[in-house]
Symmetry: C2
Subunit: 498 residues, 2 copies
Amino acid sequence: MSQRTIGVTEVALRDAHQSLMATRMALEDMVEACEDIDQTGYWSVECWGGATYDACIRFLNEDPWERLRTFRKLMPNSKLQMLLRGQNLLGYRHYEDMVVEKFVEKSAENGMDVFRVFDALNDPRNMARAMAAVASTGKHAQGTICYTISPLHTVDGYIKLAGQLLDMGAQSLALKDMAALLQPQPAYDIVRGIKETYGDGVQVNVHCHATTGVTLVSLMKAIEAGADVVDTAISSMSLGPGHNPTESLVAMLEGTPYTTNLDHDRLIRIRDHFAKIRPKYAAFESATLVDTDIFTSQIPGGMLSNMESQLKAQGAGDRIREVMEEVPLVKADSGHPPLVTPSSQIVGTQAVFNVLMGKYKVMTGEFADLMLGYYGECIGPRNPEVVAIAQAQAKKEPITCRPADLLPPEWDKLVADAQALPGNDGTPEDVLTYAMFPGVAPGFFATRPDGPKNVGKTPDQVEAEKTSAKDVAGAVKGPIKYKVTLGGREHSVTVERA
Amino acid sequence: MSQRTIGVTEVALRDAHQSLMATRMALEDMVEACEDIDQTGYWSVECWGGATYDACIRFLNEDPWERLRTFRKLMPNSKLQMLLRGQNLLGYRHYEDMVVEKFVEKSAENGMDVFRVFDALNDPRNMARAMAAVASTGKHAQGTICYTISPLHTVDGYIKLAGQLLDMGAQSLALKDMAALLQPQPAYDIVRGIKETYGDGVQVNVHCHATTGVTLVSLMKAIEAGADVVDTAISSMSLGPGHNPTESLVAMLEGTPYTTNLDHDRLIRIRDHFAKIRPKYAAFESATLVDTDIFTSQIPGGMLSNMESQLKAQGAGDRIREVMEEVPLVKADSGHPPLVTPSSQIVGTQAVFNVLMGKYKVMTGEFADLMLGYYGECIGPRNPEVVAIAQAQAKKEPITCRPADLLPPEWDKLVADAQALPGNDGTPEDVLTYAMFPGVAPGFFATRPDGPKNVGKTPDQVEAEKTSAKDVAGAVKGPIKYKVTLGGREHSVTVERA
């Protein structure tokens, strides 16, 4: 039987730890696995972008560009892949085109090969410039469809969007299911539709999270429909809010007309490496194993916990049900955006405001911008009454053009501002760090000479916890202060495990 | 689109807690969920048999018959289902036919509807009497194929075994994948083969564990091939060494030509109930999330940990690799039995003995019996040289007949012996308890009046642990006594959280 080889993108170095452990994994906990990853036979290795850049400078005192260069050196045979939020780059606003071009140019120069470009609203205009920039570096530009469910989202609509991305020069397409909403039948229908409409030669990559427990089946159906590459994470970095296990994908395809051709012994070594590392970051993990609520609530887990903490902070923790009912209404008013960073935060926070303060009595600046077109176009029309409220509150006109078209050139000012910061090294890379994270960059530049820090536990601590858990349940790890009364006199005693 | 309705067997009340928490769940932690389970629309509710009977009397001081009667009362609309080890009933040896008949008769009388009858070696002769007994009570007799992988096991072989079970009067067939070895393609091929060979009217149930992360896909393929009923566990009692989540199955089928027709609101209530209960039994859970090693090692996880503790007890913990290489050889010598209770223990222990004391230098009595045919026939021939060693060591002749044919009538003696025990209530049910667990029953009869005990934590303990974990990690819950030397003088200090 002749088998079709399915490519695999390994996400352990980026999305897996972003989803499982709040993006906290330090580079030093990855380097040992790189040679094996490089030799396994993956189609690509996702290792940069998304929230990793932010986490590097905010939590790890690590230069993200140095991380990228290290990956490039350690994985010379692999295509390195990143996730790029289109015109937002890795930050949280739109950037003027020259900044986008500089970022892509420097990323390519430092070693990036495959750029998965997406926009939270699926507005192709927000992806166009980044994709063109990738093309001009000669690297691989992947256009992305963010998958969501709404009364307006249809298989045909996704197929049409695929065509727009191809017209924009996408060398491949990613079907990105960040909320584990992609069920087997639509997975099949969308991939099949793309292949039938635009030809079998169009490369389709499928990215699913595992949260709902159903998406390995969706990958199977996508493969049967012709998908070329799928995203998975090595088993010791998989499941829950993360991804399907790479080894399970391999096992799934055995005996079928498909195969992965991954190196089995390398997979075991990668697995064993991360099985050792993962417990170091246990404090950052959530307890979610499987959660199918999203199929009815349509609210991603991370968004829900965000809204819960906002409510609690206002002493209104008991009103989460009302907020959950408000979310679909706000989503509909804003034209049914997919709920992914930043739209999930924008819609969620406005739903909280509506419940606490009355419907659209107070609008966040971000929600007003969303209603006025400053994030781009959604699939559906926006509610004109709410647009009018936004206009009045924000004192801004609605727009219909590409949001970045309104931005004046900003590169030279960013260079000047960045270079005025102590510790700035004068490179365009540092300008980009400052451009995307103006609040965090100054502190990072100042502390960078101290070198990376690891926020995980040390192997000794992990071992000690295991032992002490088995050992004397509840013994002090400390230091902890106690009041100890001895012979009628009270003492203050600090206790710590010897 | 007309959809085919797929039946679902919910395993939360039996196999799920057997697999996840060493069968320790007390009846009182299940009763609250029963009304919802009864109203959800399951094809059947697995709730008895397997290891639950043993665990009830060994750990929970609970009468398993009372448990069954309680389920019958609380779930009047449901088909109750049990797992029955054929001629072994729920014990660990072969019983004479009249004991088998009594057991089935009493189980039916106390409320059992569906009997899933299996034999560890897939020897139909070991299932025949139990299945005939079920038929004569008018209840549902399900014949079982234990799925394994070996050089001798083929799709055609499984289809042939299905035919033997149907000839023996099976009203349905179960494809039982206790080690999560069933990959999507063979799942499809076996179910399709059975349907094509014996007709679409033959009911096929598919039971998979989730350990390897791949078997929800196998259920999908089995359904596409015509499977009628699949086994799942409510999500809060799922995954790891357990089963695929019921809600994920429901989501998987949406939009396909198949549906489950389960009541969504009931599922949520069942889930929430067990989400509350599961943490009480955390001490019994293993850390395994996903493990695909078995595809190469062919050693189920539980068997591996058994062998490891045997080796450690002999100070030879470092020899596990040798034992893992020995297992397939011992398995081949004994004719390739599926590795499931009790064959997994028998083969595993002999592999340990071979490594520690030399190849077949010392044979366990059970392994000698396996080699001499006292457990029945395997798919392959046994190695004649090893049979000769078994014969010499055990001083017994090999047999070819059905093992139970050699057993003299034993019911009357069991009645007399059981009734001599203090606390015995004189019922045939108590005789059966004694028959299956002669070592445990006397103690259980004596302590039964004390009533069931719950070995899980109390909700207060679970809450306290959550709080203290969030609070000061590692603070003493105490009280714990310390010796504290202070200024050269030793003090005895009791410390407890203020």
